[in-house]
Structure formats: structure tokens, C-alpha cells
């Protein structure tokens, strides 16, 4: 699809996927996985900003104990829209749709994903789903919480449940199609010599994620359809007044929505594995077991949904089983954390921005994961169920984990995607601000929850105010921290220093290509002769002189 003509003459840059064509059509009808990744980046940034604005309003309301800024109904809509946009339109697609789309083919030495048209279609599906949900928001919002619990959502709620549900239903198919595309690509399009156990861990993580996307998402799709049908026709499937069982909804919902948590974290873990190895300049420790732990998480993730329902009245024996199974998930998760730390041990660590995010990820994910074990314990969960403890826990995993990994990955791969370096000092400041702001926002919420402050209320007793003020203060720092990269990354597109093909001295096929890569990725299909992460044979980046770089031997 690349016709380098006038474009190359004008810029004098070598032809690449960005300057191959300039027309609007060449973007909106592109079949190039790299351009589709950037389309996703634009959509995701929009929805992330929107979700973030709702978070700002929530934190403003919670500055004071009285419900003085918003009425309770408005507040219900605010946290619902925050949850829906962040979960379904940012976290779920985030790394797979942007970095996965862009780098999966490059990492396995392929020219594109297996089904390029399907890939473009999935972006359009995602956008249409997003627009439906936007419509629900503009028309008056939804107040059910992102979990759509019945029978409130199916019978009693007077908000735009159907439009929002339809938006989520539609966008689910974008997730499914991305999963199908990745699975077929990883199975059939690896370069010669790239055996399964030579694949980068990023690819393994995306493979595990794709399995969940394909096997989990359809269940929520049909569940949402049933909720919409309940609202439209009053069939009674989830309505106890007609013999329906609202708990069945919770089972179906969490059967997807717990594994979905792993859609939201596994790709992040893949990114972390890449960065840890690169910035420790070491072969990753325990490659095989990290790869297998991704699959283990994907499989175990389907067996633990009942831990969301300990107080729903489900059988106590089911509760015990779900509790034990949930704790099992800690094993593969801990395996990853231990292997990353073992990789750091005696590595030549460089504290560039991606590494700062990675270290943040490891610490915050550990806190998020360990509090997950608290919640998997039946007795503790009954105490903290539906309190801010839960809110803090999943934000440690989702924001402290996935958003950190997403930003780390974005900084790591930015020079490859655009051929430009971002301003390093500013980026480090932003990374530290995000880390500090994040902890200040969410650590007080652990305390609040443990003291008994319930989630989803716009007013609270006065003794909780100090911690809430701290949390809101942290959120302002966090917000500024997120605003910085949006500014300087865009700035770097035009003014950033040229990056060269491999600024980090990273291993991996994606770094052997030109920056930005040419439209069809490789002039010749590469032949792979060694495993991933052969950092002991790879020289550190030529640009790095010892004085400038803080090289640390632990």
C-alpha cells in the first residue's frame, strides 16, 4: 500500500509507514497494523481523558463529607460512566489494541496480522461501541454502576441502560476479533526459526490474553443482551418477581468480568518482561515459567468468579471453593514478580523512564495482588465487601499495574513507533508524579475501606474527611502526571530528537527494523537463530556514554 513518491521527496526521510501516504483515506481505510494501532491510540486517549474527567468530578465531590456538589443520582451516573469508559473503552483494549497491534507482527517477523481487514473492522466496531456509550452519556447517563446488577438495571433504573449496554455489547466484538486475529497470527505467521519458546514474553502474554478475549467476552455479550431484553420485554429471566434469578446474572457477569481483569493485566505483564530484561541488560530469569504462568493465569482466571459473590447468598461451599481457587491465582502472579526481581538482581540497571514505570508496576502490582488475597479470604471479604478497600485494591492492579505498564510500554516503544525521542527529564518527572500521586490517591482508600467507608456514596461521616482530602490531593497530582505525557509526547512527534533504530540497545526483531518501520515491516523475512533476550551477547546502546547514564550494579 505504500507509494513513496512526493512524500519522500518532501521530507528526505526514508520511506516508512507514516510518510508512505498522507491522505485521510489512507488512515481511515488503512490495513497496516501499525496505523490501526495508532487509530486505537487516538480513540483510547479520548476515552481515557473522558473517564479521567469523571474521576476528577468524583474526587471533587468527596472533598467534603456533605453531598454538596452533586446530587446522589448525578453522583451515581458519574462513577458509572467513569467505570464504563475506563474498563470497556480504555483498560480492556489498551495494551493489546495499541502496542499489541503495532508490535506483535514485528516481534514475530510477520508483515501484518493474519486478517488485516478484520483488524480495521475491529477498530470501527470499537469506535461505534464507544459512540453508543457516548450517546448514553449525553442523553442523560447510566446509574447502575459498571456492573449492571439486576434487577436494578433490568427493571428499576430510569437511565439509559440499553444504549450503554449496546455500546458495551458492540465493543465486545472488537475485543473478540482482536483475540481471534492474534491467535491465528501467533500460530501461523511466526518467522522461520521462531519456535514457541523463542517468542518474546510480550507475545506469550498476548496469546494468553487472546484466549480470554475469545472465550470470555461472548459470555458478557449474551448477558448484556439478556439485560436489554429484560428491559424491553420484561421476560423475567433476572426478575425475582417473575421467577427469575438475579444471582444468575452475577454469575454470568463475573464469569467474564473476572477473567477480564486478566485481559487488563496480562498484556501489561508482557510489556514489563520486555522492559525489565532490556534495562537490566540481562537474559530474563525463568523465561519458560513466566510464559507458562501467563497461560496458568488465563486458565485459573476462569475458575474464580464466585469471589465477587461471597455476600450474594451463594452456597457457602461454593464460597470456600472459590476462595481457595482465587488464592491459587496468586501463585503464577507471584512467579512473575519473583522472576522480574531475579532478573534485576546483578543486572546493569538503567533508570530510564520505561524502567521507572516498570519498577512502579512491580511494587504497586504486588500491593494490589496481596490485597487480592485479603479479599479472597471469605471472612475478611465479608468485612470489607463494597467498601473503599475494594476500590483501592482494584485501582492498585488496574492503574498501578496496567496503566503503569501501558505508559512504560508507550515510552519504551515510542522511539520505534515514531522515530523520535521524548524529553527524558520531563518524562522522569511525570513518572515520579504519577507514582506519588497514585499512592496518595489510593493508599488512603485502603484505610477508609478498612474503617468501613462504603463505595458509591456521595456523602460520608465526618471522621473520614482527612483521608478523603489526602486522596483528592493525590488525584490532582496524578491528573497532572497524566497530562504531562500527553503534552510532551505530542511535542516530541515534531521536535523530538531522532531516535535511531535501537535507542535502548534492545534485543528482539522489532528493534532490528528501521524507526519508524517501513509499511511492510521487513524487506526480507528475518530468520531467527536464538532465543529472546540474548542480552549477554548484545552491546549496550552506542549512544550511552558512562557519564550521562546512571549505570548501577546491584
Amino acid at each position: 500500500m505504500s507509494v513513496p513518491g512526493a512524500a519522500t521527496a518532501r521530507t528526505a526521510e526514508p520511506s516508512n509507514y507514516l510518510n508512505a501516504e498522507y491522505s485521510i483515506k489512507s488512515w481511515f481505510l488503512t490495513l497496516d497494523h501499525k496505523r490501526i494501532g495508532l487509530l486505537y491510540l487516538a480513540g483510547l486517549t479520548f476515552f481515557f481523558t473522558l473517564g479521567g474527567l469523571f474521576a476528577v468530578l468524583i474526587r471533587l465531590e468527596l472533598l467534603t463529607p456533605e453531598g454538596d456538589l452533586f446530587q446522589s443520582e448525578t453522583y451515581n451516573k458519574l462513577f458509572t460512566m467513569h467505570g464504563i469508559f475506563m474498563v470497556f473503552f480504555f483498560l480492556l483494549p489498551s495494551i493489546p489494541a495499541v502496542l499489541g497491534n503495532f508490535f506483535l507482527p514485528l516481534m514475530i517477523g510477520a508483515r501484518d496480522l493474519a486478517f488485516p481487514k478484520l483488524n480495521l473492522l475491529s477498530w470501527y466496531i470499537y469506535m461505534v461501541g464507544g459512540l453508543f456509550t457516548l450517546y448514553a452519556m449525553v442523553a442523560g447517563g447510566v446509574d447502575t454502576g459498571w456492573t449492571f446488577y439486576t434487577p436494578y438495571s433490568s427493571v428499576y433504573a430510569n437511565s439509559h441502560v440499553i444504549a450503554a449496554a449496546l455500546g458495551i455489547f458492540i465493543s465486545g466484538f472488537s475485543s473478540i476479533l482482536t483475540g481471534v486475529n492474534f491467535i491465528a497470527t501467533i500460530h501461523t505467521m511466526r518467522a522461520p526459526g521462531l519456535t514457541w519458546f523463542r517468542m518474546p514474553l510480550f507475545v506469550w502474554a498476548h496469546y494468553a490474553t487472546s484466549l480470554i478475549m475469545v472465550l470470555g467476552t461472548p459470555v458478557i455479550a449474551i448477558t448484556i443482551v439478556l439485560v436489554a431484553i429484560e428491559r424491553l420485554f420484561g421476560v423475567g429471566i433476572f426478575d425475582p418477581a417473575k421467577g427469575g434469578d438475579p444471582i444468575l446474572f452475577q454469575h454470568l457477569f463475573w464469569f467474564y468480568s473476572h477473567p477480564a481483569v486478566y485481559i487488563m493485566i496480562l498484556p501489561g505483564m508482557g510489556v514489563i518482561s520486555e522492559i525489565v530484561a532490556c534495562f537490566s541488560r540481562k537474559r530474563i530469569f525463568g523465561y519458560h515459567i513466566i510464559a507458562m504462568s501467563s497461560l496458568a493465569i488465563a486458565v485459573l482466571g476462569f475458575l474464580v468468579w464466585g469471589h465477587h459473590m461471597f455476600v450474594s447468598g451463594q452456597s457457602i461451599y461454593a464460597g470456600i471453593l472459590f476462595s481457595l481457587l482465587s488464592m491459587l491465582v496468586a501463585i503464577p502472579s507471584a512467579i512473575k514478580v519473583f522472576n522480574w526481581t531475579a532478573t534485576l538482581y546483578r543486572g546493569s540497571i538503567r533508570f530510564d523512564t520505561p524502567m521507572l514505570y516498570t519498577l512502579g508496576f512491580i511494587g504497586l502490582f504486588t500491593i494490589g495482588g496481596l490485597t487480592g488475597i485479603f479479599l479472597a479470604s471469605l471472612a475478611v471479604d465479608v468485612h470489607v465487601h463494597d467498601t473503599y478497600f475494594i476500590v483501592a485494591h482494584f485501582h492498585y492492579v488496574m492503574v498501578g499495574g496496567m496503566v503503569m505498564a501501558y505508559l512504560g510500554g508507550l515510552h519504551f516503544y515510542w522511539p520505534k513507533m515514531f522515530g523520535r525521542l521524548y524529553p527524558e527529564t520531563l518524562a522522569k518527572i511525570a513518572a515520579v508524579m504519577i507514582f506519588v500521586g497514585f499512592n496518595l490517591t489510593f493508599f488512603p482508600q485502603f484505610l477508609l475501606g478498612y474503617l468501613g467507608m462504603p463505595r458509591r456514596y456521595h456523602a460520608y461521616p465526618e471522621e473520614f474527611q482527612v483521608l478523603n482530602v489526602l486522596s483528592t490531593a493525590g488525584a490532582s497530582i496524578l491528573g497532572l502526571g497524566f497530562a504531562l505525557p500527553m503534552g510532551y509526547l505530542i511535542w516530541s512527534l515534531f521536535r523530538g530528537k531522532p531516535a535511531g533504530n535501537n535507542p535502548w540497545g534492545a534485543s528482539g526483531l522489532e528493534w532490528q527494523t528501521q524507526s519508524p518501520p517501513i509499511s511492510h515491516n521487513f524487506d526480507e523475512v528475518p530468520i531467527v537463530t536464538e532465543e529472546a533476550y540474548a542480552y549477554d551477547t548484545l552491546r549496550p546502546p552506542a549512544a550511552a556514554s558512562p557519564e550521562q547514564e546512571e549505570v548501577l550494579h546491584v
Binding site: F115, K117, N181, T188, V214, I222, K242, G243, H520
Partner: protein
């Protein structure tokens, strides 16, 4: 899946036709796994409520027309045969036969829709559509609505999948007529066949669950 499967040529990002074929096939199987989970959610609801309200479900089955259901089952199995013959013809490089068999499959699918509409209409007349026309005879079990709710969602979702299949068959049939498939390149027809067999298979489960189970208790 359309780009890799129906273009009739080697797409630029594949190394060989075999690789392209393998990708498309795997992609369709992965998609069908997704479909299994989609209908799996519905079958779960069915199992749960059948357990809870056995009598209402037996009663519901008696309102369904077993004769029409049986005919439709036969029609769908026939359509599986014709689409399989279509795949075979494509492999043998007979474009006209391929298009013919796809046309026959379309015709059988339309017969199915015809019979299904007759059934739906009868339910409308008897007041057995929850939310639209719901006035069951006095003495009907209170959870009959759940049975018919599930009946319409399950058969409706199945019909929706058939409609999508019909659309695909029109495209693939047209391409077959234009000679886009040959002995080394018939993946478009093969993938369509897989999809259609899956849709038939769903019906093979729906038919006994909705129409037959519990009838002996009469």
C-alpha cells in the same frame, strides 16, 4: 476473515497459499470457540431454569409444534449436506457446481425461515410472546414466561446467526460463480462451510432441549 479467505489470491502478508489457508482455518475455529461460549451462556440459563421450574418447562414444550420443529431439523441437516457438497465442488474446481450447492443451501435456509415464521406467528396468536403478546390461558404455570423468554432468545439468536450466514453465502456464491476458487484455493468456501455447520449444530441442541425434553411426561 474475508481478506485472507475470499480474495482468491495470495495476500501480500502471507508467504504461501498454505499459510494463508491455515490462518483462515484457525481463525474460523477460534471464532467458533467464541460462538460456543456465546450460546453457552444461554444454555446455562436454560439448565438453571429447567432445574428450578421443571413443570413450567414441560408445559412450555407442549406448546411447541414438534412436527414443524422436526421438519426444520431435517431442512437444516439437508443444508449442511449441500454446503458440504459445495466445499467438495470447490476443491474439485467446479465453480458452477459450487455456486449451485451454495444456492441450494440458501434455498433450504429460506425454507427454515419460512417454517420458523409460521411457528412464531402461531405463538403470537396464542399470546405466548412475553412482552409483546402475553396472555397465556388461565392456570398456566407462572414461570411459563421464562420458558418462552428463553425460547425466543435462543431461537432468535440462532436465526440471527443464520441470517449472517445467508449474507456470507450470497457473497461467496457470487465469487464462486466468478471463478474465484480453485483446487488450491477454496478456503473461502471451506470457512463458510464450517460456520454453517456450527449454526446447524446449535439447532441440533436447541431442538431436543426446547421441543422434545419432557414430552413423554404427557
Amino acid at each position: 476473515m474475508s481478506d485472507a479467505t475470499t480474495s482468491g489470491r495470495l495476500a501480500h502478508h502471507f508467504e504461501s497459499l498454505e499459510q494463508q489457508h491455515e490462518s483462515a482455518l484457525l481463525g474460523m475455529w477460534a471464532f467458533l470457540a467464541q460462538e460456543v461460549m456465546f450460546f453457552g451462556g444461554l444454555f446455562t440459563c436454560y439448565v438453571v431454569y429447567r432445574n428450578l421450574y421443571h413443570d413450567a418447562f414441560v408445559e412450555g414444550s407442549h406448546h411447541l409444534d414438534v412436527f414443524l420443529g422436526t421438519v426444520n431439523t431435517a431442512v437444516l441437516i439437508g443444508s449442511s449436506l449441500t454446503i458440504a457438497l459445495g466445499v467438495r465442488s470447490a476443491q474439485l474446481g467446479r465453480p458452477r457446481a459450487t455456486a449451485g450447492f451454495i444456492g441450494a443451501t440458501i434455498a433450504l435456509a429460506l425454507v427454515f425461515f419460512g417454517i420458523k415464521s409460521v411457528e412464531y406467528w402461531a405463538k403470537y396468536e396464542h399470546g405466548l410472546i412475553p412482552g409483546l403478546a402475553w396472555h397465556p390461558e388461565p392456570g398456566a404455570s407462572p414461570q411459563l414466561g421464562i420458558f418462552f423468554g428463553l425460547y425466543f432468545v435462543m431461537t432468535g439468536m440462532h436465526a440471527l446467526h443464520m441470517l449472517i450466514g445467508l449474507g456470507l453465502m450470497v457473497v461467496v456464491g457470487w465469487r464462486a460463480l466468478r471463478g474465484r476458487y480453485g483446487p488450491d484455493n477454496f478456503i473461502g468456501v471451506e470457512v463458510l462451510g464450517l460456520y454453517w455447520h456450527f449454526v446447524d449444530l446449535v439447532w441440533i441442541f436447541l431442538f431436543p432441549l426446547l421441543y422434545l425434553l419432557g414430552r413423554h411426561a404427557h
